[in-house]
Symmetry: C2
Subunit: 318 residues, 2 copies
């Protein structure tokens, strides 16, 4: 009965969510606390420990195998958070080591998208798969690439940044300093940016015009659901850019499936149909009609906790 539970911690810019998870992906207990307002990272960890203590008592701490943390800019190899712009601590934070020391449990850390991939593999749409690509479509485009049943971390722990494939040579300026990165087109932010650019370009009638200056991917979804031609073209265009880029990714790892999660992925067939169409059109013939496009099978609210917890079940580095 020992070592049958894992702790999953989702460290976000605003809140930290945590839960105790069993091997089937059931969250037995969970809670949340603010990420900010603690001053030092040591104080943050002390508060986290105080929040986890009653959960540990309830399930019996000896039953817990370890802790997994999903965090922005998290590096699996070093256990560090590296210059995360949206977290209250600057520089390089050796979070896994600090948490392991404070809570006396083996602690593993990775970035949000890789944690999501681990969650899908452990409990979700990728159960039983050895080769798949996880795509998270939120503020940016995150990814986790699994080959031979193992996460591809690369030489430095930093592999799998599909959001920074160059989708459009000399295209839109990206926060990374380069031009044309995929996530500037294919993400909740990207599709909204396309909408704003198109609204400026011409006077086409669209229900989105009333939101000019603050269009969101959700508003585009609602408009498209209502049959707005402009909104539908936004999905078509976004799906085209994403499908073309994913065709290149397929050429590299030949996955069984590509699994989508996050704000823009919630638009379901509105986004996945054009992605599928343009992916297939751009695939080398040997890959055609083979690759499943799936939505995440994890519940929205708990996906990040589940993904983080999956890290605790085992080190996937060979």
């Amino acid at each position: 009965m020992t070592n049958q539970l894992a702790v999953g911690i989702d460290l976000g810019g605003t809140n930290t969510a945590f839960g105790i998870v069993d091997k089937e992906g059931n969250i037995l207990l969970k809670g949340t606390m603010p990420t900010t307002g603690h001053g030092t990272v040591e104080n943050y960890i002390a508060t986290l420990g105080a929040n986890l203590a009653p959960l540990f008592s309830q399930v019996g701490k000896p039953n817990i195998k370890g802790i997994g943390i999903g965090a922005p800019n998290g590096n699996f190899f070093t256990g560090e958070i590296v210059f995360a712009p949206n977290l209250p601590w600057t520089g390089i934070i050796p979070l896994a080591r600090l948490v392991a020391g404070s809570l006396s449990l083996p602690t593993t850390l990775t970035n949000d998208a890789k944690a999501a991939a681990m969650g899908e593999m452990a409990y979700g749409a990728a159960r039983g798969m050895k080769d798949f690509i996880m795509i998270t479509l939120g503020t940016g485009l995150g990814s986790g690439i699994v080959a031979n049943g193992q996460m591809i971390y690369g030489h430095d722990g930093l592999a799998g940044e599909l959001g920074h494939l160059i989708a459009v040579r000399d295209g839109r300026k990206c926060n990374c300093g380069r031009y044309g990165c995929l996530e500037r087109y294919a993400s909740a932010t990207g599709i909204a940016l396309t909408a704003e650019l198109w609204l400026k370009e011409n006077d086409e009638e669209t229900v989105l015009r009333q939101y000019q200056g603050h269009v969101t991917s959700k508003k585009i979804h609602t408009a498209a659901d209502g049959g707005d031609a402009f909104a539908l073209r936004l999905f078509e265009y976004t799906g085209k850019i994403l499908g073309q880029a994913l065709a290149d990714a397929v050429t590299i790892t030949s996955p069984e499936a590509i699994i989508f999660f996050g704000g823009l992925a919630k638009s379901g067939r509105l986004i996945l149909d054009p992605v599928k169409k343009h992916l297939e059109e751009n695939l080398l013939s040997i890959y055609k009609d083979k690759i499943k496009l799936l939505q995440s099978a994890l519940p929205d609210d708990d996906a990040a906790i589940l993904g983080a917890s999956a890290l605790a079940w085992g080190n996937t580095k060979g």
Copy 2:
């Protein structure tokens, strides 16, 4: 002393080269025979067996662990050669099974570029590396991608076709039926094609003009060595296209090194310097100044036998 030797077979369109290799990558015995002229694949294998028999006698067959075959369009998972346009047998050939049955040794097969990657990992420039990309620049551009110490075969055994990344959207027509594939620019064939197109476009003076209609990558190399500005620009352009595409590949697998082999790779710094420059210019900052660009460390004539033999040491699929 048993199981200390491997057979490597390099199945080419014209000739089949074979050798007996030890764990350090020394070729103890080797030979060659024509690939064509045998009629059925069964007859080909019978002749191959007759050629190998005296080698087996010399080293003692019980000392041989297995046979590795590198072949065009070879699929590691199925052991089949699948519709290889330059081989004398059509359709799907279950070569690994036929050879294993005929020669009574475990037999593994993969394509040429993946065999080259296995060879570099076992005996060459990638010894000790767990994450690298092998690029062969010959008639086409072949690749083998290793992550976590394992070849990425993908769901279907067909991963790692970097030659068919779309390098130039709506670019040159490729034999695969699509447009703008990397190998139409970055290969011995690709650089020669660029030369022919440029020669037609203008009247610039270049020593290559005398070869118009039959320019080769070797002639371009010789011209560039002699300081021909046109030839040097051909390397710069080819290196730019290749460096840009490899920057995307790095974003996916974050390798320790990229290793180059094949006709065009023999041009050394002429091609690798522009590749390095444009790779670095196009990398996300987290990957900059980290990735070694290396030439193959295997002797040209024996590299294919060595690569194939490396397959016999172990199944790299987890």
